[in-house]
Amino acid sequence: MHIHIPDGVLPIWFWGSGYLVTFVFLAITLYKTKKDIKKIPLTAMMVAVMLIVMSIPLGIPFHINLSVFSGLMVGMYFSLIASFVVNLILASFGHGGLTIVGLNTIILWFEAIIGILLFKTLHKLSKNYFMTASISTFFALVCSAFLVIGAVAISTVNPAEFLHHHKEMERLQVSLPTFILITLPIAVIGAALEALITGSLVQYIRKIKPDLLERGK
């Protein structure tokens, strides 16, 4: 999941902190992965796959990300790099503001982390790869939907900030539940769909390239 917020809508402190968090973690990640060149081509391939699946029309206002799946493939560190590169490329092609890259990177990475952690935990309980990957993906995406809702809720304060108008805060009380009401069902359907796809892919990987899943860990 990511947000299509154009430049100039969010307050600087908000998108700025998105960048700050992204850069801090990215710096740590790049330092830690400096010598791990084995995962570079696979991560790049996951970026390419994510970019392509994001542009496949599904017939509903949702697109697949494969963030959890690529997280399972490349692991926690490389999935941050992948999230950053995906969002940077999307922004440069006009599919999101440049200012939103930091926030979107965090959202995608958040999905991947939750997915990876859940998958690892569930995997201890059950060896059914399809089930564990699907459940992990579903919960990761639903969690990230709440993160997006939270981000949008904070960002809606924007007009009031601009004009020092307190009426806006009152309006926010009304618009946020409406926003949740519209977003959440789509997010849940999308999460279920992506969960099924991720589950099938992971199960398939387990058959043809079991070492890939090990590498992701």
Binding site: K207, I208, K209, P210, D211
Partner: protein, 239 residues
């Protein structure tokens, strides 16, 4: 007696999906300065054999020596001396531009920028691809991509050149230039060349020694003259 550069004895490889590919029959031996054409239909095991020579695959059974070493165990040492051109050339071009791609290996091997520049300029001149040097690989035709990949393999000045269907997409004129170039390199620099193909005329134009591989078995080893005399080609071409 000439030095043995490659020696392969009855290989067997099991892929992760449990598919077994074996290359058995006669031993596969390549001497220094030799031009070997490995001919066989699709799926006969040519690529598997080449991948073992380069050190990409680890043999489950059998023995393989390249420059007297096991290429899988001594990958870095061995591969530094080998130039490779694969069948799917699109995947082989990594550099952002043609120039960058040809410079890819020498830069990674730590050669000085000056030396890399000298080598790249030399090879693009020799292969007559100066006009491509600033282009982005994606925009090249199949034949042009192949030439760039060949340049990228030759630029490291290899002792052994492994070519997997390397000339297949070239037009007749480019093919002629490349064959002339390979022959020249072979004569002047004593480069050993192994070319895998399913084109019979490459045997006539290029080979010192011919190996025929069919369904994982090396069925024939000999000179091109003998090869044509025995009319072995007819068996291959029917596939």
């Amino acid at each position: 007696m000439k030095e043995e550069i490659v020696k392969v004895d009855c290989l067997k490889h099991v892929y992760p999906d449990k598919t077994e590919v074996s290359v058995c029959g006669l031993s596969f031996v390549v001497h220094r300065g030799e031009k070997v054409v490995l001919i066989g239909p699709n799926g006969s095991g040519k690529t598997t054999l080449l991948h073992h020579i380069i050190g990409l695959l680890k043999a489950t059974e059998g023995e393989i020596k390249v420059f007297g070493l096991n290429p899988c165990k001594n990958f870095k040492k061995v591969v530094r001396r080998i130039g490779v051109v694969f069948q799917n050339v699109d995947e082989q071009l990594i550099g952002p531009t043609v120039w960058d791609d040809i410079a890819f290996s020498p830069m990674n091997y730590g050669l000085s920028k000056k030396e890399v520049k000298k080598r790249v300029e030399k090879i693009i001149k020799e292969l007559k691809i100066e006009y491509l040097k600033n282009k982005i690989p994606r925009y090249l035709s199949g034949g042009e991509k192949k030439k760039v990949a060949i340049a990228g393999a030759l630029v490291i000045e290899p002792e052994l050149l492994v070519l997997d269907e390397a000339l297949s997409e070239l037009d007749p004129e480019s093919k002629r230039i490349m064959i002339r170039k390979f022959n020249e390199l072979n004569k002047k620099n004593k480069i050993t060349i192994v070319l895998a193909t399913n084109e019979i005329d490459m045997v006539k134009k290029f080979a010192d020694t011919v190996y025929v591989l069919e369904a994982g078995e090396i069925k024939y080893r000999g000179s091109p003259k003998e090869f044509f005399k025995k009319k072995i080609k007819y068996e291959i071409c029917r596939h």
